[in-house]
Amino acid sequence: MNDVETGVLSAYDDVYSYVESVNSNLICCICRTPFVEPTSAKTCSHTFCLRCIYQALEITSQCPVDRSPLTADDLQPAGSIVRNLVDELMVECPCKPSGCTHTCQRQHLASHLKSDCLFVQVSCCEDNCEQLLLKKDIRKHSDGCVHRTVTCEACDDSVKFIDLESHQGECPAKEITCVHCSSTFPRSSLQSHNSTCTLMPIPCPHSTFGCAWVGTRGTLTEAHLATCVYESLKGFITLHSAKIDALESENLALRHRVEELEKTSGSMKRDISIAKASLGPWFRSAGSGLPPAAAPAVPATRQERRRSRVVPLNGVMSNFADDVHPLRNSDEVQGHLDSNLVNPAPAAQFQPPNPMYMDQSSSLGDPAQQPAFFPASTHPYADRYNTSVAPINFNVSLEGSLSSLHSSMIALEGTMNSMERRQDIMLTTETLRMREEVGSLRAIVHGLRMQVHHVMMDRNAQIISTSSVSTGAGNSSGVPRQQQEAVVQGVERSSVMHYHDIQPQRPHPPPLPGRGGGPSFPPSSIFRRSVFLENKL
């Protein structure tokens, strides 16, 4: 059975190795070893190791022996008799394989391992030494441990034993010999010796300018410098190199500035392009001023006509009638601005709202010849359109201008509405008056007809009486009755047709019907109007 006890099966664990066989009453039924920290159930009095029963209760809450319900709250340390019995069991030291033959009570094993046992594996106390040793061997080891600290005899520094050899090559206190002059000195003063050693070969101090001489320090001043061509030029070279240095630093500073400026101009370009994009048609470059006085004649004359029509109709509107006409051209805008602004800004700052005018101005080209800004007095249309423009201020933002345009539109709409209403009222009044006049004329005509009829009847009676006198009979004249009547009617019609001829003799003009709100006309004007209407009809 040796194979069983080697390999994985002999691995050290925390299980005690008991010297004698243990009473089966002290065996935990879960781990089959004597109790460690014996714990009993209050309910069924079964006893287990503390760790065993806690692990078992994690799986299922019942007693592993009799399956009665059991929780961690039902557990308590076993009685002191049980605890003492298991604590006093004799165990072997777990270091037995290393050679420890110690046996003791189980409760004392921990202190034995901690302080007494010489067969416990410990690690060397030196840094970097990872060797594991038995406690009894540690003293022997540390005397010869390669990681132990030793003192350098020359410089008194603390050095690891393993590093001692490499330390010898760099110890500052070690005496070394100069390879040039064969003098000896400690390594720490090597630097200072090198700068003074007269036999050390050094290049000429002007080697950077091209002198190829190399010789010992001793011969430099005596032999070489007297003949070195660069020595005579020393002052000149120094001056120039200083100047070049200054120029280089200045150049560097300038380069920095250029870079900064480029950065700034780049960001400005970006800003401008963003602004351009957001302005859209409102943007125009600084050179191309405002559009010229290209006010088309047609809108202007139309405007005049319109005003002549409007003004007699509504004096109320005349205050803002001009304002409601939107931007006939930008010169008007200019004029308007002139009258409003105390300090008129240069025209280049104004952005005409209508892209159409941009096209005009660009097609005209040569913005320098084009007076971009017309003072109100010199403006060709200034007299006509002194304030006739929408209240647009180009100094404010696009949104502001748009909103002012919008308000102008609203005012315009209001004006249109009121004009419409007035037109309606006027038309209605005129129609009423016409109707009244026609009615009165009809009455007059009727009166005349009656008079003519009366005259004709008189005349007929005379004719009849004379004919009856001459012929003796009613119908002896040979004129049929119908014919007579036709004659009468024809006379009547002709008298109507020539009414104006007989009018002055008319004794009583028929009374005119009462007029509502219409203007009163003298009778003569009525007659003239009636004639006029009659002719027209």
């Binding site: 069983v4 070893t33 065993c52 299922t60």
Partner: protein, 170 residues
């Protein structure tokens, strides 16, 4: 040293004990010397039963939580028994109540009192399996092999013949 899995200590102790004192009815070994969780088991057929003189090869697979959770037992030798699976991935696995984890009422027809307890040992498991095989009239209440259970109920003689035939074929 508490990092050692608890199951390793108890399994090592049981293994050493069973190896030192061989039992009459079975013998145990490790599938892999470095893995204490996989055991080889050879069961000698109990005398005066169907399995007399038979040598049955089986495997015991312990969970790391052993003994808190039960091991699984699987026959390598072909078996014909109502409580041993005969097909699928579980072929050869022994289905007895003491090898079912506690508390887990997986099948619904088992008394919780029959299931695994931490106090069971490898020896007690193997003795339970041997007594299962020794039973003259196998329990067919919760069969793992339905066909075998049906045969036990309808044709016990045929069942016994079949078992003998399988055993002797091996």
């Amino acid at each position: 040293m508490s990092s050692v899995v608890p199951s390793h200590n108890i399994l090592r102790r049981e293994y050493i004990e069973l190896s030192k004192k061989p039992r009459e009815r079975f013998s145990v070994g490790l599938v892999d010397e470095s893995n204490l969780l996989e055991w080889k088991v050879v069961i000698f057929g109990p005398p005066d039963t169907l399995y007399e003189d038979a040598i049955l090869d089986a495997r015991l697979s312990f969970p790391p939580e052993f003994p808190l959770l039960p091991p699984k037992m699987r026959f390598i030798t072909p078996m014909w028994h109502p409580n041993i699976y005969n097909n699928g991935e579980q072929k050869g696995e022994v289905c007895i109540s003491i090898l079912h984890p506690p508390g887990d009422d997986q099948f619904g027809y088992e008394d919780a009192g029959e299931r695994w307890l931490p106090v069971h040992s490898v020896e007690s498991i193997l003795l339970s399996v041997i007594s299962l095989l020794s039973a003259d009239n196998p329990n067919t209440d919760s069969p793992a092999n339905v066909d075998a259970a049906k045969e036990v109920r309808t044709d016990l003689r045929g069942y016994k013949r079949k078992v003998r035939a399988i055993i002797s074929a091996e």
